[in-house]
Amino acid sequence: MIVGENMRYDIAIIGSGPAGLSAAINAKIRNKNIILFGNDNLSNKIVKAPSIDNYLGFSEISGEELKDKFKKHLEDMEISITNKKINNVYSMGDYFAIMSGDEMFESTTLIIATGVEYLKPLKGEEEYLGKGVGYCATCDAPLYRGKKVAIIGYNEESEEEANFLSEIASKTYFIPMYKKGLTRSEHLDEKIEVISDRPIEIKGENLANKVLFRDSEIDIDGVFVIKDSASAKALVPGIETDGPHIVVDLNMQTSIKGCFAAGDCVGKPYSYIKSAGQGQIAAINAVSYLDKLRLQNR
């Protein structure tokens, strides 16, 4: 087996909750070459659960204990977790390009099991996306040379984006949405104006031109919204979603061929055993997709 960045995996799985793990186990049983992205804690949601009463076979198990059992299962099957945050996945036609910072991984099929962590978008945020609202300041900055921009930052990393923009824009506003940001960070460039009020709406005509607060507003040419967990739409551009959920059929197939999704990210109920079941369905259908491809290419 070739190991390294140049290999193309059969199945890439994003997420190490019950859906992702179950997908990984089922794909491994069918001898597929897989890569599983996640973290060593598996799922923060599970670890925090005091008691789980509806997981078949385990009555009154704690989240921590269930996590350990999951881990043991992975170890027994020699499945390792690649601890990397995935920023974007691009459907390239016959493969998926999975981006983590500057690194790229390739796979023939994809299973999304990222869970839901839904930050409700601001009013106007989605409406003006690409019309003055963006999610990557460093990408689009040159389009805002000499213009007025606002950064709505949900994490500390957003300060860097604000600094980057302030070198190009004529005026940069920074609107912190996280606790620590409320006291002005010393890393923030002097020219940046910090607004410690909650924004309620992004407004505009053809293009976004205002951010509204409870009692005030600012005029801007562009707004960047910087968050930790990107929505499924931002993670996999072009995928069909319904609110916070990815649209799938009964085979866990999404609107993009070769791409499957399972667990909380496809909808309610948010339940561990449902997620595990869907992970299995996704893996089995990814395998049959791979088999069909092999027959076609023969």
Binding site: L207, G222, P237
Partner: protein, 103 residues
């Protein structure tokens, strides 16, 4: 490789007749690089529409005229008029599906 339209005149002549799809891109933009081969493939599968690109650093005025605020942005023109746009990376099937609506 899809043709790069280098001047406003070239751009205007190109979109004047029929359905054309213009990819507004930048050389430094990651998603633009990923879109390039997908855009070329869509182009080779659709003889009914024309596909070309505009480098926003070379032709910022065209990008501004059509309100491009994010790269990549693909704009569909029909007989010189903007009829639709797609912001960000898109899989080939989605691009083709969208363009077909205007043929």
């Amino acid at each position: 490789m899809s043709k790069i339209l280098a001047t406003s005149k070239e751009f205007n002549d190109y979109i004047e007749n029929g359905v054309s799809v213009i990819d507004f891109f930048a050389t430094w933009c990651g998603p633009c690089k990923m879109l390039a081969p997908v855009f070329d493939e869509a182009s080779s599968e659709m003889s009914e529409a024309k596909f070309a690109k505009v480098d926003i650093d070379q032709n910022l005025e065209i990008a501004t005229e059509f309100n491009v605020t994010t790269v990549p942005t693909m704009i569909i023109f029909k007989d010189g008029k903007k009829v639709d746009s797609m912001v960000g990376f898109m899989p080939k099937e989605k691009i083709i599906e969208k363009v077909k609506q205007y043929l």
